[in-house]
């Protein structure tokens, strides 16, 4: 086993009184794609929100790259190289495409590489370059998703977390997003993906965890999870 970049131990998180994640442990290995699957309300988004610092942790610990970041604010996590492409994209509607990308590189770790980062983002998504002066809010859903991913990459992350990157997108665009994730892995980037398209996600992932009602119920190589009869019945309808 190669070294774990992210190590989560017995993590619990809640919205008010409602415990949405209970004692969940997992690890993400460097250079691999790790997937988190489960039905709606299983706690997947809650998990990513607590990893990025948007939701405070109740119990447990998060170690990233050997450092404890459990109680660090969001900006310090980005500074350490942990970036989130959030559910619903959360791009800035009143910023142009280029301003959205620039603000993605606001952390000190990325600020000096702004020009390089822009070049890389435009090479990856030529459409964004065509629309660089257009306001974020006027882009189509697929373009907004590309912008959200590109903005995440602007932070020069070591681990990029993607929350439902193909939700609500046309099949062709979803294809492009899956291709792009494989491509990013080939550059050596580590990915943690939460996706509703369980079948395709498990096909590109190396490892996977299955969440149910806020608890981890299964973990292993993505191929094994994909072959599991229970998973096939519950999530793939086969």
């Amino acid at each position: 086993m190669s070294k774990a970049l992210l190590q989560v131990t017995d993590l619990s998180a809640a919205y008010g009184q409602v415990l949405a994640l209970r004692d969940f442990s997992c690890q993400v290995e460097e250079g691999k794609i790790t997937a988190l699957v489960g039905s709606n309300g299983a706690g997947k988004t809650t998990f990513l929100r607590s990893l990025s610092g948007l939701l405070p942790v109740q119990q447990g610990s998060i170690d990233f790259d050997g450092g404890d970041i459990t109680y660090e604010p969001s900006d310090q996590r980005v500074e350490a190289g942990l970036a989130l492409v959030p559910e619903g994209r959360l791009i800035f509607p009143d910023f142009t495409v280029e301003q959205n990308l620039k603000i993605g590189a606001i952390s000190k770790r990325a600020r000096d590489d702004l020009a390089e980062g822009l070049e890389y983002a435009y090479a990856l998504f030529p459409k964004l370059e065509q629309r660089r002066h257009q306001l974020g809010g006027t882009l189509s859903g697929g373009e907004q998703q590309m912008l959200a991913v590109a903005r995440g990459l602007m932070a020069r992350p070591r681990l990029l977390m993607l929350d439902e990157p193909t939700l609500g997108l046309a099949p062709l665009i979803a294809d492009a997003i899956f291709d792009m994730m494989t491509q990013l892995k080939e550059t050596g980037l580590t990915l943690l993906i939460v996706e509703q398209d369980v079948n395709r996600t498990l096909q590109i992932a190396d490892y996977a965890y299955v969440l149910e009602n806020g608890t981890g119920v299964m973990a292993g190589a993505a191929q094994d999870i994909l072959a599991d009869p229970k998973v096939r019945e519950s999530y793939l309808g086969i």
Binding site: G53, L54, S74, D75, P86, F92, K102, G104, I106
Partner: protein
């Protein structure tokens, strides 16, 4: 209607407009980044005016110098308010959801306390001082030196502030926070720091405006309230959280007020300002330059 073409009136409108732009910029930063309804905002104008008055009485130093002191002191009050009250409230997501409504009551209380403290120390009497009262003539326009200075200094500072917030990295971060709080945290903006500086700059710039206003009108403990109302009208006119829109709306409200009063009479001032306020809320609630709802 010759009166509408009078350059004299135009100068008066610009002075009022620039001051509105400056004061509402402060309110807009605070509302935009934290959704705090600072109904004590005009009291910062009053504090700035008293600072300028005290400095002039004690040291014979004019407002063009003491305005920087007023900015620093009011900015310090902003820092103190952030550290003592808002930092904790804003970091709790459940309190945050209800903070906008509750902040209205909180600031109303602060306003009452501050006004009464000022009455206690300085009495409720009107204060004032003589400063650059000689008349300056520029073409057809006749202004006191003080009013001319306010026009120039106010314009320079408000334009500089808007340009800084539009083109600097800090301004970009502030604009991002105005648009979406979660997204700002996700991209790595130090939200806590941006909030703190919004309050410091917002309070400071308003205190500075107050020092300038001290040469234009009598200084009293209740002089701030009309500025609170005007500033709210301006940021709603310009679109909440839209800094550039607010700047233009400040100038526009100054024009509407001065020209409106010149046509009707001073007793109509409140009717005009509140009439515009209600009119916008009914017909264009997103503001003249607003594009729509601000995402939270």
């Amino acid at each position: 209607m010759d009166i509408l073409l009078s350059p004299q009136l135009l100068a008066a409108a610009l002075i009022t407009g620039v001051l509105y732009a400056l004061i509402s910029l402060g309110l807009n930063l605070i509302y935009g980044t934290m959704r705090l309804l600072n109904v004590a905002h005009g009291d910062l104008v009053m504090i700035g005016a008293y600072i300028a008055f005290i400095v002039f009485s004690l040291f014979n130093v004019g407002p063009l110098v003491s305005m920087f002191g007023a900015a620093v002191i009011c900015g310090g009050l902003g820092w103190f308010a952030y550290k003592s009250i808002f930092q904790n409230l804003l970091s709790n997501s459940q309190i945050l959801a209800r903070l906008e409504e509750n902040s209205l009551l909180l600031f109303f209380g602060i306003s009452v306390v501050v006004q009464n403290l000022v009455i206690l120390f300085f009495t409720a009497d009107r204060q004032g001082y003589e400063y650059l009262s000689a008349i300056v003539e520029i073409g057809d326009v006749r202004l006191t030196g003080a009013r001319l200075a306010v026009l120039i200094v106010g314009s320079v500072i408000s334009i500089a502030a808007v340009l800084y917030l539009r083109f600097s990295l800090f301004g970009l971060a502030m604009n991002a926070l105005i648009q979406n709080r979660d997204a700002s945290a996700v991209v790595g903006i130090n939200v806590d720091r941006v909030q703190m500086f919004s309050l410091i700059i917002g309070f400071g710039i308003t205190g500075l405006a107050g020092a300038l206003i001290s040469v234009l009108e009598p200084i009293t403990p209740v002089m701030g309230f009309p500025y609170t109302m005007s500033a709210f009208v301006v940021i709603i006119l310009g679109g909440l959280g839209n800094l550039w829109g607010g700047f233009l709306a400040g100038l526009l409200l100054g024009m509407l007020e001065i020209f409106g009063v010149a046509i009707t009479g001073p007793e109509w001032r409140s009717v005009l300002v509140y009439g515009i306020f209600i009119g916008i809320l009914i017909f264009r609630p997103q503001g003249l330059l607003g594009r729509g709802k601000i995402a939270r």
